[in-house]
Amino acid sequence: MSIVSTPPAARVRSYRTASGIEIWHVEDYTVPVLSVECAFQGGAAQDPEGKCGLSNLLTGLMDEGAGSLDSAAFQELLEEKAIELSFDAGRDRISASLRTLADNATEAFRLLGLAMQAPRFDQDAIERVRSQIVSGLKRDESDPGARARDRLNALAFEGHSYGRSAEGKIDELMSITRDDIVHQHGRLFAREQLHIVAVGAITPDLLVALVEGAFGPLAAKPQLTPLEAVSMKNLGRRDIIDLDIPQSTLYLALPGIARKDADHMPAMILNHILGGGSFTSRLWFEVREKRGLAYSVWSMLANRNLASLFFAGTATSNERVAESLEIMLREINRIARDGASPEELEQAIRFQTGSYALRFDTSRKIAHQLLEIKIEELGIDYIDRRNAEVSAVKLDDLARVGARLFGNAEPLIVVAGRPIGL
């Protein structure tokens, strides 16, 4: 094995504010920029029944005015100092992302704090952001990728809140009131289970003080509705969404392997060999290189707090969908039956270990990586350990996870387009 460059993990430090908020910090003054990534537990999966899209609407409103500042005044203050602030609702978490020039860090945290502590939720802003979300949902109706993804998700998690759209449903969005938004904000923006990572040009003392000022006054605990773990539904089902276009988008899904499962790392390596490693994977070679069936073909493992999936997908001419699907299923069956070769395993390990440092070359990327590590409770030293875990994967492990993932399940398949011969 060649020498492997590792990212500068030793520089990650942990601090705690007066109210107990833990911050991971990488102090670096090379570029006068500070990137901050934050996550609150509970996202779109916490949208109440009949209010699908509430968390999305809430996060869309978080930069639309706070305290004595209406939307226009708030946006001007951000713009005057080139402060970038955004909020986003994922399935399991609300995230806040802040980027600022180092000189403006105090003002940036002041505006972040104001946004979280005293959001206005003015009615005109609610209507504006709601109409923007609805407009985006309408645009997605002609997007085969968005349509297929949505349907796949709905079928895979039928009956669970994970099965609903994280962006929202138009009729339910229309029924959301200001009280709903205020209530959801009160439930989710709290200090417990809050994760914060800061990377860049700021001293620890100042960082701790600014974080306490922004987050300290929030409620201590979020009020989360407990969700049940869910296993994937509708295995073996095939669903076609009719769209009058020359090319179909195809997705397939199977149950995945959880991040905390001992088999997660082998599963990640196996997926790399099958369809994760872009220019070298089996799917890439068989579907694109050899036959020219598609521009893009891929597979991935996706994890939510309470569910895991394996996905694969491609987009191919309507008349070639059947052939493409057959080849994808054949490759999945082949890797389940025969596993991978020693050369493939070695190549995958070399790629995964060698490329890890590439995830740490900007402040934002470092902050994102550390945030995931923190949320997944992998430990502040995970960066130093990770490549050894990758290198420990053996062929037997791949055979085992191949059987586990693909051994005895028929995938759920969704196609958007006008496929011929399915």
């Binding site: 060649s2 492997v4 460059s5 590792t6 990212p7 090379t30 570029v31 006068p32 920029v33 990137s35 939307s71 226009a72 946006q75 001007e76 713009e79 005057e80 080139a82 980027r99 020039l101 504006r128 109409s131 609805v134 407009s135 309408k138 109706e141 002609s142 997007d143 085969p144 860049g200 769209l243 009058d244 276009i245 020359p246 090319q247 490693g277 220019f279 070298t280 694109r288 290189e289 036959r291 020219g292 598609a294 521009y295 893009s296 191919t316 001419s317 190549q347 070399r350 790629f351 995964q352 060698g354 490329s355 440092a357 590439l358 740490f360 070359d361 900007t362 402040s363 934002r364 387009g417």
Partner: protein, 425 residues
């Protein structure tokens, strides 16, 4: 505060230009090669050849046959890709710094050693046809965009899609690709950019052992022969109606100078104009159309300034439920007319300058982003020094400069308006 990045640059004896952008924070490098040719250099009738060749560049050489290139990159944990623009074609790998020499050897080898034989040319053409179907043929908005550009540029190849017209892609073959390759892929037409944990001395040594061994071509270096766009005095409306459209939009585009063709500070003034008109939620269009009048759910503008030939400036509005595109057009027209007649405010101008200059500082946080800034600058008529000077030039723009370029170039009488609507039939 440092507004501009620190870089070194030099040339190898065979003419290859080299730019080095040190960034010591992580032990990785971004290695890019830009060629000074793109889709606008496709011969007539061969649209898409620059992009098709970019795909074929992964097919192998004598030294690194089929698949070896990508396998080698993957075996050191590298990320790689390539992209084609109107004025340039670029290839890159991102690797741990100790593998830079191997990446250079690979890239130098395929600069002149490409071999195309066998069925891979045909299957790769199918891949490109699928790419076009994915990006354009399945998306009414992309189809409108294609027609809008074909109407805005009536003569110049910027009016032809980078990926090519469908019927011409189908006719592209091995000989077309090789002829284009031999014409443009040579050291004196290329720019090597290395950003990351390395300095100019190391790059010079590694590049000398690899790229430095490529001989200079015997024939004259390639020149770009671009036709000039005529002066069009007509406004035009391009309309695409499709049953799948659930969200209509209106946009308008204008031919304007790029940094390469502009005189004086026109291009800098246009950059600020675009920011003030539609660059953010505090912009004129967003304020007027979305916040005050409520006729749109979204509105903004764009300025394509890093073009070798004439650039383009545009504005768009996404109507709110029940609002007609005519209403949107009237509202956009009014906002733009005001900028042509009146001076922007001091605070507004200062805010726009701060925002644009901050972008250059943020860019220094990303070696890949910086490498791309240099790559596009140097392949579209700019110099290394232009990047460093850019913040100074932005700062010097006055409110009068902005009104003047708006007045000179953004007359609706010369615009191409594009409407995307639902086909109710």
């Amino acid at each position: 505060m440092r507004d501009a990045p620190q870089v070194d640059h030099f040339r190898l004896e065979n003419g290859l230009a080299v730019v080095v952008i040190p960034d010591r924070r992580a032990p990785v490098v971004t290695h890019m090669v830009y060629f000074r040719n793109g889709a606008a250099d496709d011969p007539p009738g061969k649209s898409g050849i620059a992009h098709f060749l970019e795909h074929l560049m992964f097919k192998g050489t004598e030294k690194n046959p089929k698949g070896a290139f990508s396998e080698t990159v993957a075996s050191v944990g590298g990320q790689e890709n390539a992209f084609t623009s109107y004025d340039y074609t670029a290839y890159y790998q991102r690797v741990a710094k100790e593998h830079l020499g191997r990446m250079m050897a690979l890239e130098a080898d395929r600069m002149t050693g490409l071999i195309l034989e066998g069925p891979e040319v045909d299957s790769e053409r199918d891949v490109v046809i699928e790419e076009r179907k994915m990006r354009t043929d399945s998306d009414p908005a992309a189809q409108l965009q294609e027609s809008l550009l074909a109407t805005l540029y009536v003569h110049h190849p910027y009016g032809t899609p980078i990926i090519g017209w469908g019927h011409e892609i189908e006719g592209l073959g091995r000989e077309d690709a090789l002829a284009y390759y031999r014409r443009f892929y040579r050291p004196e037409n290329a720019i090597l950019i290395v950003a990351g944990d390395i300095d100019a001395t190391e790059v010079r040594a590694l590049a000398g052992e690899t790229y430095g061994r490529i001989p200079v071509g015997t024939d004259a270096p390639p020149t770009r022969r671009r036709v000039r766009e005529p002066e069009i005095r007509a406004s035009r409306l391009v309309k695409l109606a499709d049953a799948k459209v659930e969200q209509p939009t209106s946009q308008r585009a204008f031919l304007v100078p790029s940094h390469s063709t502009a005189t004086g500070n026109e291009a800098f003034a246009l950059e600020l104009l675009s920011q003030i008109l539609g660059g953010s939620q505090t912009s004129r269009l967003y304020r007027a159309l979305v916040m005050e009048q409520g006729v749109c759910v979204g509105a903004g503008s764009w300025y394509w300034n890093d073009a070798l030939d004439l650039g383009q400036f545009g504005a768009y509005g996404v109507p709110a439920e029940g609002v007609t595109l005519d209403t949107v057009d009237t509202a956009i027209g009014k906002v733009m007319q005001d900028l042509r007649e009146n001076l922007v405010g001091d605070r507004e101008l200062e805010r726009a300058k701060t925002r644009l200059i901050a972008d250059m500082i943020y860019a220094q946080d990303s070696q890949t982003h910086l490498a791309r800034i240099y790559g596009s600058t140097l392949t579209t008529g700019g110099k290394v020094e232009d990047v460093a000077e850019w913040p100074v030039r932005i700062r010097a723009v006055s409110a009068e400069d902005i009104r003047d370029v708006a007045n000179r170039y953004l007359a609706v009488e010369r615009a191409v308006i594009g409407h995307l609507v639902k086909d109710a039939a």
